[in-house]
Subunit: 261 residues, 2 copies
DNA sequence: CGCGCCTTTGAAGGAGCTCAATTTAGGTGG
DNA sequence: CCACCTAAATTGAGCTCCTTCAAAGGCGCG
């Protein structure tokens, strides 16, 4: 895995164009927030030098996870938040009867673990979908520091609030959209998030299976697969397994807004 | 409307049993958190006397809303959180194409407005479903005070986190459950929340229409109506318009866990 | 008392699910 | 390096549950 502070790309993706535009040389070794290239995406956004230094002393620890390894499980005592440094995660919730649902996918700069604050125990599972690394942010210390640093407090509140708004969109998706709209929304969202991280807006590698996408979108994997095929037939995208190219982003957007069903 | 600090009940509900168990005499006039009977449900939970006094000075203002009046609208600048004091609210999100979805129902003691923190503007509409009253909590001041009072900071974080967990459950519901399961989950949730507020667990008045329930559950109003009828045929509940009696709570719960579809 | 909104109920249609078979990709070991 | 193996993805056919469209009944409010 590279140490550039960017999310690592797997072998198969080396061939992607536009990827070479990302500087792979900036080596960030043991540095913390003050040195982190994800700075402006993360909870450290907008902090001054001194403040960053304080945050550094808090966030010392890192944790590496192999593909398929759990960062935490539902029921685990809540102690810390985690900032994704490299890699890709999913969170999922398990029902008593065995049904489960993916509730989110997290990439570099995004925060995991906030579900645990309310009850002091995690309510979902967080699993690495590829080899990944997170910054461990002990929560008690974060709260303390955010009592001292107003900007940090504000950032943290914003991160939580944005998560609430994200959830609203997902409810909207699950409650009102049909299959192809859901998938279009999903692809556009992925594209937008990859773009924000310096990757190509139009070409990316999905880390999750069709089943996981389906679970997230409230669809069966076959339905996801069929929708991918349909999009391809219509020239909206090019699909090759997990490798996706968006050929007509506008077309996808039109799919979203056009249907007052 | 009564001034007991409990959510007001409409005329038609005066006849409900168990309701008389709620003391209606405790008159809270202009008092704030320190005097509020919703104390232990709200953001003031667990605070000491002095701390409550500080919170009081912050929460001075109240706002009354008539049925169907907006507390705020999507796009409104974000300035404050609102604690429901009496009444009943819904929040909903509107899509460009006209589709909308109810994202939540809020009752006494619950906090509205957290969606606005991230972007400094509200992302949804909040509408009173009956004549209601809220405590206005200016957010900048709340942040400041929560830098001073650790317990307040913690409470606020817990409230937000619980909202995230609530959203997870709703996603689960929208993503994996069939119509009757969704409605059963909804009824049990309502019952549980009314119970926590001192009302009967088995008998309550729904403030929202079938359409709003359907919107919340990702179903059409006809489907909601049919499910109600089916539950009644099966002896699980007694429905008379918006007035619901749960006759077999266990039966409803069984509906939820039994189906690994 | 009458009007409008909400609710209920029926019948037909369709989107997505289930079940099943086949293909493909990626990893493993001979 | 190729054969093998397993997990993932694709595709088809039939079915189910929910939606759509429609009509009628009931409650509450002015």
């Amino acid at each position: 895995m590279d140490q550039s502070g960017r999310p690592s790309e797997r072998e198969s993706e080396a061939a992607l164009p536009n990827k070479s535009a990302v500087p792979v040389s900036l080596v960030t070794i043991k540095a913390a927030c003050s040195q982190c290239s994800l700075h402006e995406l993360c909870i450290s956004e907008g902090l001054g030098k001194e403040e960053l230094a304080k945050l550094d002393s808090l966030v010392g620890a890192r944790r590496k996870l192999k593909r398929q390894q759990n960062l935490y499980r539902a029921g685990d005592p809540f102690e810390a938040l985690y900032a994704v440094r490299t890699g890709f995660f999913k969170t999922d919730v398990l029902l008593e009867d065995g049904r489960d649902q993916v509730t989110g996918f997290q990439m570099a700069g995004e925060i995991l673990g906030m579900d645990g604050i309310g009850t002091e125990a995690h309510s979902c599972n967080a699993v690495a979908l590829e080899d990944s690394e997170v910054c461990v942010i002990p929560f008690a210390q974060l709260e303390q520091l955010s009592r001292e640093i107003q900007a940090l407090q504000r950032n943290f509140h914003k991160v939580m609030s944005r998560e609430l708004v994200r959830d609203q969109s997902l409810m909207m998706l699950l409650g009102t959209m049909r299959a192809e709209e859901r998938l279009a929304a999903f692809l556009l969202n992925m594209s937008q998030r990859f773009t924000a991280r310096g990757y190509s807006p139009a070409e990316f590698h999905l880390r999750m299976t069709r089943e996981e996408i389906g679970s997230y979108l409230g669809l069966k994997l076959e339905t996801v697969s069929r929708a991918f095929s349909r999009f391809q037939e219509e020239g909206l995208i090019a699909v090759q397994q997990k490798h996706i190219r968006l050929l007509d982003g506008e077309g996808l957007k039109r799919l979203l807004n056009a249907r007052p069903r």
